[in-house]
Symmetry: C2
Subunit: 391 residues, 2 copies
Amino acid sequence: MKIAILGFGTVGTGVYDILKNSNSSELKVFEISKILVRNKSKITSAIMTDNYDEIINNEDISIIVEAMGRTDPAYDYIIKALKAKKHVVTANKEVVAIYLEEFTRLASENNVSIHYEASVGGGIPWIKSIIKAKRIDKIYEVSGIFNGTSNFILHNMFEHGYKFNDILNIAKEKGYAESDPSADIDGIDIQRKLCITSSLCFDSIIAQDSIQTFGIRNVTKQDIDYFKSSNSVLKLVAKSVLYNSSYCSCVEPVLFGKDSIEANVGQNYNIASLVGESIGELKFYGQGAGKFPTANAVIQDILDIYYGSYNNYDLSFDKVLSFDGSLIFGRYFIRFSDIQIKTIFEKNTERFFNIGDNYCIISTELSKDCFQALINKAIELDKTLFYARYN
Amino acid sequence: MKIAILGFGTVGTGVYDILKNSNSSELKVFEISKILVRNKSKITSAIMTDNYDEIINNEDISIIVEAMGRTDPAYDYIIKALKAKKHVVTANKEVVAIYLEEFTRLASENNVSIHYEASVGGGIPWIKSIIKAKRIDKIYEVSGIFNGTSNFILHNMFEHGYKFNDILNIAKEKGYAESDPSADIDGIDIQRKLCITSSLCFDSIIAQDSIQTFGIRNVTKQDIDYFKSSNSVLKLVAKSVLYNSSYCSCVEPVLFGKDSIEANVGQNYNIASLVGESIGELKFYGQGAGKFPTANAVIQDILDIYYGSYNNYDLSFDKVLSFDGSLIFGRYFIRFSDIQIKTIFEKNTERFFNIGDNYCIISTELSKDCFQALINKAIELDKTLFYARYN
């Protein structure tokens, strides 16, 4: 079975290395026959090309591994591959989060399949576990610590007292964070992963812009010190809940008790959880990024194509769901610098606790939509505000 | 696809209930056409029988779900089913731990398959995750908190200060422990699960009697209080390690730091971990027992048979491995009542700490085989001795 790899960065080289060097007899049937590189100057071997047509027109190639990232030209290349009746494996959450429905339909029309295990949770067998769980169960809750970069930052602020910017710089040095870290620290990356995850779980495309998202950019050492003093550990969490025909999805910082599993997911590890009707709660823990774990997930997809393991599961996204912000609720911590904000929350919530000059905890179990209306007003007044939901 | 269920206890009724009541379209293709009950007086419907021949001779039945437990007559019934070219799904760890190789060979000879997802970790998708991971990776370490009953006991001793016997009685009342709880508290149940797990991971039958096993029967409230004071949490753990052609497997109480994932696996939950070459560490958490999670795992196996998902993976157990007790090592806590025991350890270990009249910690990184020789001598002198390895 002949494979082409698009993009030869971290993931692409990881796939290449494992397929070339593994002793597993399962992998002997695969041959990498083409590698697409963006830049002619990077061509160092006969199988490399900068011309996608050479790949798409090669009838021997049956699987395209898209490991370029971003949507352009990844979207076009995936569309062309599916139309050319080639199976596609992608690690690209950005493009899958937007075009999941189109890719799924197009694959089905062309009698091939699209796989994206590596797009959420890196090496964690998460996407296929959802698909398997759904064969039996309705899944009505799904959540996860899906962003290794923000988890690395929060873990080290908590454990070693780093300031946000200092540990962010270390993350950049280690290659955990990009030079523009916005997607990671503003929750955009994890929002994409929640979008893919919940669309699969709920049989309905959960639009990215329906996911209320607040990142960790504003968190300070003082915030973390306060959480630590009350035995709470901060994590950036994506969560979706289904109830009848309503759903609620959000990405926000969440405070876990120190003695919980989530609180102890350290460094750049991920954890993904689902709650199903008969199976109850399942959690999957592992490396959410990194060359080899991500490449491993890509190769699992390649093997699933080879064995036809998931061909029989026709995914559909045609369920009509409406957003209901009352499905997620909780107690919130808020830190602000503008005294008007205090008034906003004091007036509009039943139980309000002042815990310092510029900290408060809203103790009522406030639903997400009520909270969101208030917090949006507050954020307008104070761009440095930080909040977190108590789990 | 017609199914027969052998045994109509917790697991059998769970499978029946899910298949009958589920709305999942995936499950509509299955029909339960026979249920074997041991006792004629329990026959309450036309599909029930106490005669196995009626099932084995029924050519329409293609899947046999063995949910009886114990080895007799489960072993005979499974053998007969495979020889009659029927697929077998079993939740019975006792029979699989002993006859895994024979069942696998017989299934392959008869062109059918045997599945046992529910035998380890209940509803956790563990067995199939191992098989999938092994398609790419060599797995060189595997471990787990696989016994819900002992975890329930240890969790509640730690959290609520129960004495061992009091919480054991509560576990019996709740149906978590059997009237004779030996298999759970002496580590026999978890030993069977390790046997199945490591045989699959290492391509070699790991004999039950090669697994050094020490349970939690002797743990006292005083032991737990001491662990608590040093921020350690006690768990009963099964672990196997592979290094070249050597392995070491053991079941023993292990002390985890309070801020670890394992320490926070509470109540009767399970966690299963593996370490693979490229995937790194993966952990799977969920309900290790209970009617619906276990039945869910059985039905996942039924679906895998229907889709032929795992037919292509020929499992083999022909790798020759030798036991090497030096592969697992650590610092040990020992509590004893006989003064001679102190002498045994004081003489034979480099760093020895007296932490009370009848407690000691051996601080050298003692290998399992050295430790085992000493502890066996000590247990002969003191039947109430308790020990645990620091993780």
